[in-house]
């Protein structure tokens, strides 16, 4: 059985259109102990979930175009009025009004700061990032929240200035299309497919 003919999905007229194969079942195996007694069975299968980004779609599209989008509450009656949210929040968490999309690329390029970080060799199944992963949590001027991401060049340190890079060549349309590098990094040092936007 192969997954080469794996399925694709489109949305047409407000409906999902599935084409191709989405799930693969495999025969189960018995599980026995040292004495040959039956303990259980395996339940192997491959499957694909479909997931909509909804109001966050512009953010994930933007990454592939070299843009870091945030949102802002523009409700003048709200305590959070003027607050910029990264992670991108579709609605203001206080007044629940629809936020305005704001382009934060330039703010981030002027120098975001590593609030904290972590380096780990351990990953879970389906990880696609090279190991070790250098997690960095990044603060921006004028943004009350702290975004999680990963560092692609150099070693992280609290307080270090970083700038965003984007997978603009072959985007995955996931959060992995956004990464960070130290401020003075050269374009030649970036991982394949990534640019400064």
């Amino acid at each position: 059985m192969s997954t080469n003919d794996r399925g694709t999905v489109k949305v047409e007229n407000g409906r999902y259109r599935f084409e191709g194969k989405f799930h693969y079942g495999y025969p189960n195996d018995p599980i026995r102990n040292e004495d040959g007694e039956l303990m259980g069975v395996t339940n192997p299968r491959d499957l694909t979930h479909v997931h909509m980004y909804g109001g966050e779609a512009p953010f994930f599209e933007g990454l592939g175009q070299g843009k870091l989008l945030g949102t802002r509450c523009d409700n003048s009656n709200c305590e959070a009025n003027g607050s910029i949210f990264i992670p991108f929040r579709i609605h203001c968490p206080d007044c629940l009004s629809k936020n305005t999309i704001v382009d934060m690329t330039e703010t981030a390029q002027k120098g975001a700061t590593v609030h904290t970080f972590m380096i780990t060799e351990r990953t879970g199944a389906f990880n696609t990032l090279p190991k070790p992963i250098r997690f960095v949590n990044v603060e921006f001027e004028g943004v009350p929240t702290i975004l999680m991401g990963y560092l692609s060049v150099g070693e992280p340190k609290i307080g270090m200035k970083v700038i965003p890079i984007f997978n603009t060549t072959n985007p995955t349309f996931t959060i992995l299309d956004l990464s960070w590098v130290p401020e003075e990094t050269n374009e030649t040092e970036l991982p394949e497919g990534y640019t400064f936007g």
């Binding site: 339940n43 607050s83 997690f135 949590n137 959060i175």
Partner: protein, 475 residues
């Protein structure tokens, strides 16, 4: 800045008092291939019935509704697993509901059970929790656990939950621990203590007789966290029976009053916004004014270093029970020691120590049964069960296990439940030659903290001997 309204901060007021009558636990292990989850749940239930000299059938006659804590459905590939358990316990047609709040699931299950009795809906309820994370390969398990983080913004980053927590540990380690060797040593002491206490517990999965150096030399998981700084991953079950006063006294001579409160915070740490520190009864508004001077980088609250959910669970819970100072008012605690460093963070969130000074709870010796510095009883022994590091973290069962352990101390029956050779034999475990009774003499009140992941949910369960209630300010 986030602000909370007066209504949001109201002290919960129940319709009637609620009592813990009994509880029981299964064996805990990394894997238990010879038993289905249903069998482990029955083991826990039978222990709870026997604890009050009832047969399982007799105890079941009292139960009116059931609360089931089980976090990770996807591990078992069985939705409505609660319904399977409910049927195997023979509790149909009673109403039942599943509760899921990550690592806090056990505590949240008690919270729901508590409210069901307090409201008058039921006079006697079952709170049962379990978890089974052994039936997938380790890397698939890591992915499944990581799916409790935000699936678009976090999970793709390595599919490894430890990493999402570890960034917080790093921040605390640098800002409040100041990367000092002495702080590293204090973290290690917690791991030594809890694994050592686990040696006296026949249920425990991770007993170890180790030293501080063993912890500091264990492999790095995500610096500064090392393998021996981290909690266990377990299979097992635990249950508690909660009743109103009348029913409690029919079932036992010795019920304990129980209060449960809960708090929450953003699933993504990235979404946390700054606020003023909500104060516990033993804190004053000006005591944190210079926190940022004493600990540069530590002036952002809760930032990445405080658990607001734990603070709020204590905020509500202490006021419900009349607790002013946890060190004075409690005789023991069971804390959610997922990692040694998060244990230290929690001391501050729940007011055992002020923010920034959590380490001194360990360094003073207060957290031990016998203070190693003075040879006197510790002021507030912590995690005598072995905690999550030494005993177990069978997620849905953990918060319930903690409450039962505390109950056994207040009932003065800790030794009875941990010493008996037949239990060690039943679980296939060797009782150590130097087995020691960890009973806290004269324990009257205790606290259990149940905590989810990076702090999305936390509950505070408070148990009080009815003859030793604290004065409550009814304002």
């Amino acid at each position: 800045m986030i602000k909370f309204s007066k209504r949001q901060l109201k002290t919960p007021k129940m319709q009637r008092p609620v009592y813990l009558v009994t509880g029981g636990m299964s064996k805990f292990g990394r894997s238990i291939p010879e038993k289905r989850t249903e069998e482990l749940v029955i083991d826990a239930f039978v222990e709870a019935a026997e604890f009050i000299d009832k047969s399982p059938a007799e105890l079941k006659e009292y139960i009116h509704s059931c609360y089931y804590g089980h976090f990770a459905d996807h591990f078992g590939d069985q939705l409505l697993g609660e319904s399977v358990i409910h049927d195997r316990l023979g509790l149909d047609p009673l109403g039942n509901v599943g509760i899921k709040t990550g690592g806090a699931t056990g505590g949240s299950t008690l919270w729901e059970a508590f409210k069901a009795v307090a409201s008058g809906y039921s006079d006697c309820v079952l709170a049962m929790g379990w978890e089974r994370m052994d039936e997938v390969p380790t890397d698939e398990g890591n992915n499944y656990i990581a799916s409790a983080a935000d699936k678009d913004w976090e999970t793709p980053l390595g599919h490894i939950y430890t990493g999402y927590y570890a960034v917080m540990a790093q921040k605390y380690w640098q800002v409040f621990g100041k990367e000092e060797d002495s702080f590293r040593q204090t973290m290690a002491e917690i791991a030594v203590k809890n694994r050592g206490y686990a040696r006296m517990n026949p249920h425990a999965q991770g007993p170890m007789d180790i030293t501080v150096d063993d912890v500091i030399n264990s492999p790095v998981v995500a610096y500064p966290l090392r393998a021996l700084d981290c909690c266990l991953m377990s299979v097992g079950a635990a249950c508690a029976i909660l009743c109103d006063e009348k029913t409690a006294n029919e079932l036992t001579d010795n019920p304990l009053e129980i209060h449960v409160a809960a708090g929450s915070h953003t699933l993504r740490v990235a979404d946390r916004r700054d606020m003023e520190i909500p104060l516990l009864p033993n804190e004053s508004p000006d005591q944190y004014k210079d926190l940022g001077n004493r600990f540069p980088g530590g002036d952002r609250y809760p930032g990445f270093t405080g658990f607001l959910a734990a603070r709020m669970a204590a905020y509500y819970g202490y006021r419900m029970a009349g607790v002013i100072d946890p060190v004075e008012d409690f005789d023991l605690v069971e804390l959610h020691d997922a990692f040694t460093i998060s244990d230290i963070q929690t001391y501050e969130d729940i007011g055992i120590r002020p923010y920034g000074e959590g380490r001194t709870y360990v360094e003073s010796g207060d957290c031990y049964l016998t203070n190693p510095k003075t040879g006197e009883p510790g002021k507030l022994p912590a995690n005598l069960s072995g905690g999550l590091i030494g005993n177990m973290h069978a997620v849905g069962a953990t918060g319930i296990m903690q409450a039962i352990e505390i109950g056994q101390h207040i009932w003065g029956r800790w030794a009875e439940m941990h010493e008996d050779q037949s239990k060690w034999d039943l679980f296939g475990r060797t009782k150590p030659d130097d087995w020691t009774n960890l009973q806290v003499d004269g324990a009257k009140r205790g606290l259990a903290i149940s905590h989810a992941g990076v702090g999305s949910h936390v509950t505070a369960t408070i148990l009080v001997h009815p003859d030793h209630q604290l004065e409550r300010n009814e304002s």
